[in-house]
């Protein structure tokens, strides 16, 4: 055991856990798939934030993206359910146990086509969870058909042109009342890391649409979801830095050029404006700007909208502090006197 004793101790987080405790199984996705980078960012964010992996519930639908929860946070429970139906499972799980940190991983087919209904209603409910769409504009597991987030005019490798307008999941979510909406790119390590940490710190649904190129079916010229296209068209709306609640760093910044959003757990997201007049707390302006960017061929990234005070579904239902799932029998089975009273009223 001398070698172990001599090896440097691995870096640990505030729980004393090494990064390896946040890893999952080996990925079976293609080498270079954007989803693998997102998995890395997720597990790093959970490690950096010191989230106990046992508190996380990983939820997914069907597709390449939905397989990825097997490749990170191996110590977290997971439910890989049905195509397009992750939101329903997430809703049930969170209502059963409000202490869970629900992390949904979905794809553009899963959320914008078959699951658009469930996606929309989840956004309306503001269920406390992080909802990541790994968005590559294409169906990977069925070998390369367009999805509903593919841009009009984009082409497949076979030359097929997409004639239909794209569904913008971020714009839709903002319109439906979502409380935290961001867009990012799997290749932008810094921005995605900050957005993920902020998403974990938000109270409500935090939707992140992450452009995640499919190296096998949608990374060619003519694709608007390729690495090359994103490098040319990624338009970050601000520079993001995440300041954990525990770090009380007083950094001088120009309030005119920076917006600071204080999240539920006391952490802060500091947004240095790259663009005059953009305030992610303004729902209507955010919608306008997203629509403008789409017209201009840009992919606007960053925190597009946030409302830290929006009531969550758990608030609206008035749930007790303890998880419903494990309330003792004495709290969930009314006494015999209650049945006697009910029966008497029916006589």
């Amino acid at each position: 055991m001398t070698t172990a004793a001599n090896a440097p101790a691995p870096r640990t987080n505030r729980l004393g856990l090494p990064l390896t405790d946040y890893r999952g199984g080996k990925t079976t996705l293609c080498a270079g798939c954007g989803h693998n980078a997102i998995s890395e960012r997720i597990l790093e964010a959970a490690f950096d934030l010191g989230i106990p992996p046992e508190r996380v519930a990983k939820l997914s639908g069907i597709g390449c993206s939905s397989k990825s929860p097997a490749y990170f946070l191996g110590r977290s429970h997971a439910f890989n359910g049905l195509h397009g139906r992750m939101p329903a499972i997430a809703t049930g799980a969170v209502l059963a146990n409000r202490d869970l940190l629900a992390l949904g991983v979905s794809g553009d087919g899963d959320s914008a086509s078959i699951g658009l209904g469930q996606f929309s209603h989840l956004m309306r409910r503001n269920l406390p969870m992080v909802y990541v769409i790994e968005d590559n504009g294409v169906y990977g597991l069925t070998k390369g058909q367009f999805s509903a987030t593919a841009d009009r005019g984009a082409t497949l490798k076979t030359g097929v042109v997409n004639d239909l307008p794209a569904i913008d999941t971020c714009a839709l979510a903002i319109q439906l009342g979502a409380s935290f909406v961001g867009r990012s790119f799997s290749g932008d390590k810094r921005q995605l890391a900050a957005l993920l940490k902020a998403a974990f710190s938000h109270r409500g649904t935090a939707l992140l649409d992450v452009i995640s190129p499919c190296v096998t079916f949608n990374d060619h010229e003519g694709s608007t979801k390729s690495y090359a296209y994103m490098k040319d068209h990624d338009a970050p709306i601000h520079e993001l830095s995440y300041v954990p609640a525990r770090e009380d760093i007083a950094v001088d910044y120009d309030p005119g050029a920076t917006v600071e959003v204080t999240l539920h757990d006391g952490s802060r997201l500091r947004l240095r404006k790259l663009e005059e007049g953009y305030d992610p707390r303004d729902r209507i302006r955010a919608m306008t700007r997203i629509l403008e960017s789409a017209r201009g061929g840009e992919v606007l990234t960053g925190l597009l909208f946030v409302d830290v005070a929006a009531p969550t579904f758990v608030d609206l239902l008035g749930l007790p502090d303890a998880p419903l799932a494990t309330l003792p029998e004495a709290m969930v089975r009314p006494p015999k006197e209650a049945l006697d009273e009910i029966v008497e009223a029916l006589r």
């Binding site: 809703t91 209502l95 009910i342």
Partner: protein, 611 residues
């Protein structure tokens, strides 16, 4: 022609007075005219007279205007199934009055709104024209209210004609209108107006009469949906996710009312969550998500919703997640007859979803069983770690039935095989789908369990006993064999069949709401044809071994059900050895009306005579 089978109807050759406490009433009104309260008052008044009674609402899929009928049966024998023949018609609806009168058997009595002028239609009936508009004129000046109160006036008229005590009508009105003082007073006045008019101006010439009995002592009047809701309440349900659909909506609505009253903790917070989902896919998906996370979760639906739930039902079976689904069956296929009853979802529910999916079904046969099975379903779902379907129907669910008081659960909640943190510390880990106990049921952990080895990856994809993704043919077969063993074990865990009678050559096998017709059929077979029968009422699927034993001890077994294709018989034929399966005969019909004994009796006798 079943109607004309050579069977003597009970009323023929009857001595005067034999319709004492033994007749049926049909009230014909328009939907939305307020007749529901009146009919409930009538039903309760009869109930309070101590005479066994049952009421059935035959209503359209409509909010206002279309014809609706309410039938009440009074039976000193205690028969509470639908009676096919109408003895007393209350004709209030001009749209249907003529057809209603023409459809009556000879000797029936008609109380009708005088302006309808229908007394010349038949010579073999007794008619009582009643000037309802004039009766309610002094009660109120409001024309809208007058229209509603006409219906309470017929209750008064009938009370007098049938010798229902006036004070029982008043008590019933008090019960139905409760704290709404103004409505109560108006309705009391209207009922009195009817009563007094009939007392003053009618020569009673028929033999329909009620006299006080003492057969309802301690009993309740309740609909099956409320009873099922109470079952869920006392089962400790914590997550209720649903999408409105007739005839299941009233189950959840009733449950919401009870939850708000009885499930709020000392700090004022509810110990439950109710979500009206965006559709049935989501409703069952949420229930499955909640069941996976450890809640006692349920949804309620009917045929079209059940179809939409099929993919999730298969996930629940394969990932082994507890959930309770109340299916209040209505008439299909497709949208079918949304407000009429059937047992048409049995075969679909048993195998709901693709692949070799199989489910646990419970068949409540009474409102008492809607309660007891409502409780048991949650224990079974968690014990077996699988979706459990409670197969009620519109007749049970939405109609008012007499019932014995519901028994408070005798055993604590069975939360099934769940490993907690301390168990994992002791064991060092677990394999989610390993059959460690030999009953096919693995041990599960709940998300959030604070132990590094607690997690497993629930999935609808092929998996090994560690819940890891696997395409291994061997692992897949082993898993499917274990699931089959698990469901085999359910045979003896579910409520056992109820057997009545012994030693007869002929057996009758039925389930659910058909029970009430079958018990009467057995008496009819005995009295009218001297045919003895034994009866087995099935209460669960997969079937108890007692089912095969019953079939093997009878030469012929009539399987009675309310669908066209003999769905339960189909399940039995898959289950029974071929030499027993051939003994099964079918009495299966669906037309939307609750099953009546006469039709069953006639059909059995026709088949008996033909063989």
């Amino acid at each position: 022609m079943i109607e004309q089978a050579a069977v003597q109807h009970p009323r023929e050759g009857m001595v005067p007075g034999s319709r004492l406490n033994d007749f049926s009433i049909q009230v014909a009104t328009a939907n939305g005219s307020g007749s529901q309260s009146s009919n409930t008052v009538l039903l309760r008044s009869l109930f309070q007279m101590g005479v066994p009674v049952s009421g059935k609402n035959l209503f359209p899929s409509n909010i206002a205007g279309l014809p609706t009928w309410y039938t009440i049966r009074v039976s000193r024998h205690g028969w509470i199934g639908r009676k096919k023949e109408i003895d007393l018609l209350v004709a209030m609806n001009p749209e249907t009055a003529r057809q209603d009168v023409l459809g009556l058997p000879p000797g029936a009595v008609v109380v009708f709104d005088a302006p309808l002028g229908i007394s010349s239609l038949r010579k073999d009936l007794t008619f009582y024209p009643v000037p309802f508009d004039r009766l309610v004129e002094p009660v109120t000046t409001d024309p809208k209210l007058r229209k509603l109160l006409r219906n309470m006036a017929y209750v008064g008229v009938l009370a007098r004609l049938l010798s229902i005590e006036e004070k029982e009508v008043e008590t019933a009105i008090g019960k139905v209108f409760g704290k709404k003082a103004k409505a109560r007073e108006l309705n009391l006045s209207a009922a009195r107006a009817g009563f007094e008019w009939a007392a003053g101006g009618v020569d009673k010439v028929d033999d329909l009469k009620v006299s006080r009995l003492d057969q309802n002592r301690g009993k309740l009047i309740v609909d099956g949906n409320s009873a099922a809701a109470l079952g869920a309440l006392f089962a400790g349900v914590t997550v209720v996710t649903w999408y409105p659909i007739t005839p299941s909506s009233s189950l959840v609505e009733s449950l919401i009312g009870y939850l708000r009253k009885y499930r709020v903790s000392a700090d004022g917070k509810p110990t439950f969550a109710v979500v009206q989902a965006e559709d049935e896919l989501s409703a069952i998906g949420m229930a499955i998500g909640a069941g996976w996370a450890g809640a006692r979760a349920m949804t309620a639906t009917s045929g079209p919703g059940l179809s939409l739930m099929s993919e999730f039902a298969g996930l629940g079976y394969f990932a082994e997640v507890p959930a309770v689904i109340f299916d209040i069956q209505r008439v299909g296929p497709s949208t079918g007859l949304p407000t009429r009853t059937s047992q048409g979802d049995v075969l679909k529910a048993a195998f709901l979803s693709h692949g070799d999916t199989q489910h646990v079904l419970l068949f409540p046969g009474s409102v008492e069983e809607c309660f007891t099975m409502g409780v048991a379903a949650f224990d079974l779902a968690e014990r077996l770690q699988t979706p459990v379907f409670v197969m009620s129907d519109l007749d049970l669910g939405m109609n008012n039935w007499m019932a014995d008081p519901f028994p408070y659960p005798r055993t604590p909640m069975d939360r099934g095989k769940v490993l907690g943190k301390e168990d994992l510390e002791r064991l060092g880990g677990f394999a989610r789908y390993r059959d460690v106990d030999g009953d096919g049921i693995g041990w599960r952990t709940l998300p959030g369990t604070d132990h590094p080895r607690a997690a497993y990856f629930a999935r609808g994809t092929g998996h090994d006993e560690n819940a890891a993704y696997s395409e291994s043919p061997l692992a897949f077969e082993e898993n499917m064999d274990r699931l089959r063993r698990k469901l085999e074990g359910a045979r003896t865990l579910l409520p056992p069949p109820v057997r009545e009678g012994d030693g007869a050559e002929v057996g009758i096998l039925a389930y659910g709401s058909s029970h009430h017709a079958v018990v009467e059929t057995r008496a009819q077979l005995r009295e009218e044809a001297g045919l003895e029968s034994d009866y087995l009422r099935v209460r669960g699927y997969p079937f108890s071994p007692a089912v095969a034993a019953f079939v093997s001890s009878h030469r012929r077994v009539y399987v009675v059900e309310q669908n066209r294709d003999a769905q339960l018989r189909s399940l039995l034929r898959l289950d029974l050895p071929p030499e027993l399966a051939v003994r099964l005969r079918t009495v299966a019909h669906v037309h939307g009306l609750p099953l009546d004994a006469r039709s069953v009796t006639d059909e059995i006798l026709a088949q008996e005579n033909a063989s």
